[in-house]
Amino acid sequence: MEQHLMWNWPMIVYLFLAGLGAGALAVSGIVVLWGPAGEFRHRAALIARLGAFIGPLPVIIGTGLLIYELGRPFRALNLFTSNFWFLALNPSPMNWGSWFILLFCIFATVYALTFIPWKSLLRGEWGERLEARGERLRAPMASICVPLAIAMAIYTAILLAAVPARPLWHTPVLWLLFTVSAISTGLSAIILVQRFMFRKPGAVRGAVRREDPAFRVTEYYLVSMKVLLIIAELVVIGLFFMFAHMTINSANFAVQTLLPGGEMATTFWVGVILVGLLMPAFIEGFYLLRTAVLGHEFEWPYVINVSAPIAILFGGLMLRYVIVVGGQITGPIGI
């Protein structure tokens, strides 16, 4: 089965990582632009900082994987140099995407640099000057990075959806599915890193202490947001199946690979739906409801709440795997 896959694991991992980076950057930028003030200020700043640091890294790694798969690193420059005006008039989604990746890597890196605590890294005048400049640049960079990150997340789906000859990809719902999954995995990555940082009771990072009431409340909201995103993703997956089912042609045939009895059915229903969506939704939903309904303080067993974001990340990877491989093992029916 491996032989006929023209887009193999580097593409799958790239789509996942690009979504993850774009999601983390979007969350970070949104927190910077519209984040809370007052007692939640430090907590929001930490989330924004983590998101900014997570953002560019996966995208750069994923792009590296793609270039590795091409085999000729410098040939990839043809995306930018050859036939510029022709492509400006006849744009291919991959050509847009390569420009998005380039801009994303540049702006996300600059944005991440504004979060580096220069004052404590460099003694003297330079540290203070860089830190002041960083704080001034942060909001303008965020307002560039948020639309760029969302464009990046959408492009990863449009790349696949643009080809009519792959009926599983050629659906108007795919961009929504990938965007929701991107934000969900990005947020999970932020939460996961943060869980490792505040592992021990009494842990302090900058101005944030684990024992602060603000910490617990923010945690509650973050986890609720994650569960809402999971529900949204389930709805979009439902729409995805509905679209395919209401289409009387190859799309209907192609989606059979994901339905029970199909080749990808186990991977999809166990990997994506059960492990990636339902399990974290139930675990986190349980603790959320305990707080929301019974009025308990929001408290989590550490192991379970580390495994929930990991499960979501795994589900995001499996979603890309199922879509990319499933699209390639199905095709137009009839001659």
Binding site: L79, S82, V163, G334, I335
Partner: protein, 258 residues
């Protein structure tokens, strides 16, 4: 036939007369932006945007499935092991004693609305304006295989030697010297006819005009330029109730048949 050619002549004469006035502008507009009056002639107006549009007609009634075209293509284009630019599929239908086998030669359709050209991120694959053939500039291609996904006919593949996208180029090195493609040259049953589908004097044009021809996967709107006579579009996924169909293709490592 003579009736229609008479009417063509009179029509041309009529247009010529009218075009001396300002009405020529309006005529050109009606003809969909055609530059010369002859383009409005139903016999020559093929709906193709190129003046010269090379294409192929495959008469499946004459194909004997000998795979000579497959071998000739391999030799001519030096296609590496494991991949093919052109091949013949065996379509077996029915159960004994009402069983039969037909043959379906496949090659790049050189579509007039090619999806592969639209998605190419570098412009490496393009439509030649002089003859409408779809070719790949190997000096620009990055081997991303986006075009291979976009092709509804699964004609594109990654050349394992060069690591670039590859496909049938209708033997442009032969065609540009006035020869026919290698597969046409070698065809034992003379099932393949090559020529300019826009030229009303060409054999392919006359055969397309007189015979019930069809193209593969017309619903994709790619307007293929490889035409078939006697094409049966049934395969395993679209067989009718009670039919037994088995399609054998050279793509042994691919479970799907696209």
């Amino acid at each position: 036939m003579s009736d229609s050619s008479d009417s063509q002549v009179s029509r041309r004469k009529f247009l010529k007369t009218v075009s001396q006035g300002a009405a020529a502008v309006a005529t050109a507009g009606v003809a969909g932006g055609a530059m010369h009056a002859a383009a409005t002639n139903p016999a020559t107006d093929s709906g193709k945007k190129n003046k010269v549009q090379y294409g192929m007609l495959i008469d499946l009634r004459r194909c004997i499935g000998c795979q000579a075209c497959t071998v000739a293509c391999k030799a001519e284009a030096d296609v590496p092991m494991g991949v093919s630019r052109s091949w013949v599929e065996y379509v077996e239908k029915g159960l004994y004693p009402n069983a039969g086998r037909s043959f379906l030669p496949r090659l790049c359709n050189h579509c007039s609305e090619p999806h592969c050209v639209r998605v190419c991120p570098t412009g490496a694959t393009y439509e030649r304006p002089q003859d409408g053939l779809i070719v790949i500039d190997q000096g620009v291609c990055i081997g991303c295989l986006y075009c291979a996904h976009a092709c509804p006919y699964d004609m594109r593949f990654l050349n394992p030697v060069t690591r670039f996208a590859d496909k049938c180029d209708m033997c442009i090195h032969r065609v540009s010297k006035g020869l026919v493609p290698s597969c046409v040259n070698t065809c034992q049953g003379r099932a393949r006819i090559f020529g300019d589908v826009n030229d009303p004097n060409s054999e392919i044009h006359k055969l397309i005009a007189r015979n019930p021809v069809s193209v593969i996967r017309e619903t994709y709107g790619t307007q293929p330029n490889v035409y078939y006579i006697g094409l049966d579009t049934t395969d395993e996924n679209t067989k009718k109730p009670g039919q037994y169909v088995r399609v054998t293709t050279n793509k042994a490592n691919s479970p799907k048949r696209t």
